[in-house]
């Protein structure tokens, strides 16, 4: 406990927004990091500095500013490569978001490796971002989608998952860390894919800032995340893919920067990673993401994980003691996310009530409507933590919850 308090004290001051007063008087308690993380000063200042002192387009010109911009953009790629422990920078594609990364894989993987009747395995727990791009394949090309069940613990039912494979299965795409339950994907799911030699994409939106990611150890073929959930800017995302697959798949969008040589008769395409980066990329945002990675590394992932585990456990135990609270996803370990409902009070009411207390939580379906249907609720309230949260904030939150319950059941 003392440890985490020290850690809090050390990082809160890095986030200027945390000194904002909500409705002019309440201290902000930000429990919505899973939707988007707040930005530390280094990210804010460095992106500013980029515009002020170094900005131009990347990989286009030979003048000084172009060199400075290109250097920063490519340096960010190196940082991401190390961050994920990818084998090479060629495996790191900058996108605008995790969503774009999944769309990219769905479209180009289909084009190279699939045909009508082939199958994709997903699960009930997926974010709409990891459903709709595959629905497109079903609707346009007659691809068959199969969905692994989940257990009450919030984990994928591994036996059911295993039973979905056929000789038509071509790719699997699963969330690495559930944005509703905070539960981590069972490693068995990945090893099953390895055994069967089926590529697997991990949606790392929620894991990238909260777990130490090593794509080689994980053994995934694709991994996507968004900069804005990892303390970096919005508008930048990352797709990791193995060089083998990325080389074989066709380009996604066409435009400047992704070509080898163009004549009116046709074009050849650039080598990786430029092949997948058509048009001027979000270069300042990429740099900001690199700075955010530096920031997380400076705190250290062991510290981040210890700190967030402690808060999550503390909050879970507090909530679990309250009889009017229903926590979703059983008793197993969570990472930085807890979904709950106050019995007989809609999550919107909870969220609006907490808002005027200065507490930001998410209410709604969390872009997981099929999962909500499965849980038999139409929405949940969700707490999610970042490096800047503290146990004291959880205490204040719990007091506010009691007030909320009292207000609505008066």
């Amino acid at each position: 406990m003392d440890n985490s308090k020290t850690l809090n004290l050390n990082v809160r001051k890095d986030f200027p927004i945390l000194s904002k007063k909500i409705l002019e008087k309440k201290d902000l308690i930000y429990f919505d990091t899973a939707a988007s993380a707040q930005k530390p000063n280094t990210v804010i200042n460095e992106t500013n500095d980029f515009y002020k002192n170094h900005y131009s387009n990347v990989s286009r010109g030979v003048h000084t500013l172009s060199v400075e911009s290109t250097f920063r953009y490519e340096d960010a790629r190196k940082k991401v490569q190390k961050f994920l422990n990818a084998r090479s920078e060629n495996e790191i594609i900058f996108t605008k978001s995790a969503t774009e990364g999944i769309n990219l894989v769905a479209q180009t993987f289909y084009e190279k490796f699939m045909q009508k009747g082939d199958e994709v395995i997903l699960s009930l727990i997926e974010h709409h971002s990891n459903l709709i791009p595959w629905f497109f394949l079903r609707d346009k090309y007659g691809v068959v989608l199969k969905f692994a069940n989940i257990q009450t613990s919030g984990e994928i039912d591994i036996d059911h998952f295993n039973s979905l494979f056929t000789n038509k299965t071509k790719i699997v795409s699963l969330t690495h860390l559930s944005n509703v339950f905070g539960t981590e994907l069972n490693e068995k799911a990945i090893s099953i894919c390895k055994d069967k030699n089926i590529p697997i994409l991990l949606d790392g939106c929620q894991s990238a800032a909260h777990l130490k990611i090593d794509v080689q150890k994980l053994g995934c073929d694709f991994f996507v995340f968004s900069g804005h959930k990892t303390y970096g800017p919005a508008g930048i995302g990352v797709l990791y893919g193995t060089e083998n697959l990325l080389s074989e798949m066709p380009p996604y969008q066409g435009g400047g920067g992704m070509i080898g040589d163009v004549s009116l008769e046709g074009a050849s395409y650039a080598e990786l990673p430029a092949k997948y980066e058509a048009g001027t990329p979000p270069l300042v945002e990429a740099h900001g993401l690199g700075i955010a990675i530096d920031y997380m590394n400076k705190i250290g992932f062991d510290n981040i994980i210890e700190h967030e585990n402690e808060i999550t456990k503390y909050a879970f135990n507090k909530l679990n003691e309250i009889d009017f609270i229903e926590i979703h996803g059983g008793d197993n370990k969570r990472n930085s996310i807890i979904s709950f409902n106050i019995k007989n009070v809609h999550s919107h009411e909870v969220s609006s009530f907490l808002d005027v207390e200065g507490i930001a939580i998410r209410a709604g379906h969390h872009c997981c409507q099929p999962l909500m249907k499965h849980l038999g609720v139409n929405s949940t309230a969700r707490l999610s933590f970042g490096v800047y949260n503290s146990l004291e904030e959880v205490d204040k939150f719990v007091i506010a919850l009691h007030k909320c319950k009292e207000f609505f059941n008066k």
């Binding site: 409705l23 809609h346 999550s347 919107h348 009411e349 609006s352 009530f353 808002d355 005027v356 207390e357 209410a363 709604g364 379906h365 409507q369 909500m372 139409n378 929405s379 207000f407 609505f408 008066k410």
Partner: protein, 144 residues
């Protein structure tokens, strides 16, 4: 308790949220529409019977949602029952103005109206959609 919260959740809202009036399906009906808030998953189905004098003879709704969306739908049905379509359309316009925070220029609604209780939604811009879901369904049904 905070004023914003008390303004948002007036007693009448909590009451109608807990026990919505005119909950169910109108039989027979000749107009219907579904309301849906894609941001949160709340939804409702509105049915009503418009007679040959263009009067809403009966109107009901079913669905699931937060206190604001249920109360708004409930108060809407109470208000619209027995009204001529032209009047209902005026009320619709007034109501959308009211919940977006502007209660000047109201033509048919006034502070005596139970619908006025939803004015507090103006303090929570993200909740305006909750309050207008039923009304948009009503508007949609008229167009279909």
């Amino acid at each position: 308790m905070n004023d914003l919260i008390n303004d948002l959740y007036q007693e009448i809202i909590l009451d109608h949220g807990r026990e919505p009036r005119n909950f169910g399906e109108c039989e027979p009906h000749n107009k219907s529409a579904d309301g849906h808030n894609p941001l949160c998953g709340d939804n409702l189905k509105l049915t009503f019977l418009l007679n040959d004098q263009n009067i809403i003879e009966d109107i009901k709704f079913t669905g699931e949602g937060c206190a604001i969306s249920l109360a708004s739908a409930s108060l809407m049905t109470e208000k619209l029952k027995g009204k001529k379509i032209e009047v209902a359309e005026e009320i619709f316009k007034d109501f959308t103005n009211l919940v977006s925070g502007s209660d000047e220029d109201l033509k048919v609604l006034n502070e005596e109206d139970s619908l006025y209780a939803l004015k507090g939604v103006g303090g929570f811009p993200m909740r305006v959609k909750c309050a207008t879901m039923a009304w948009h369904a009503f508007n949609q049904a008229l167009k279909d």
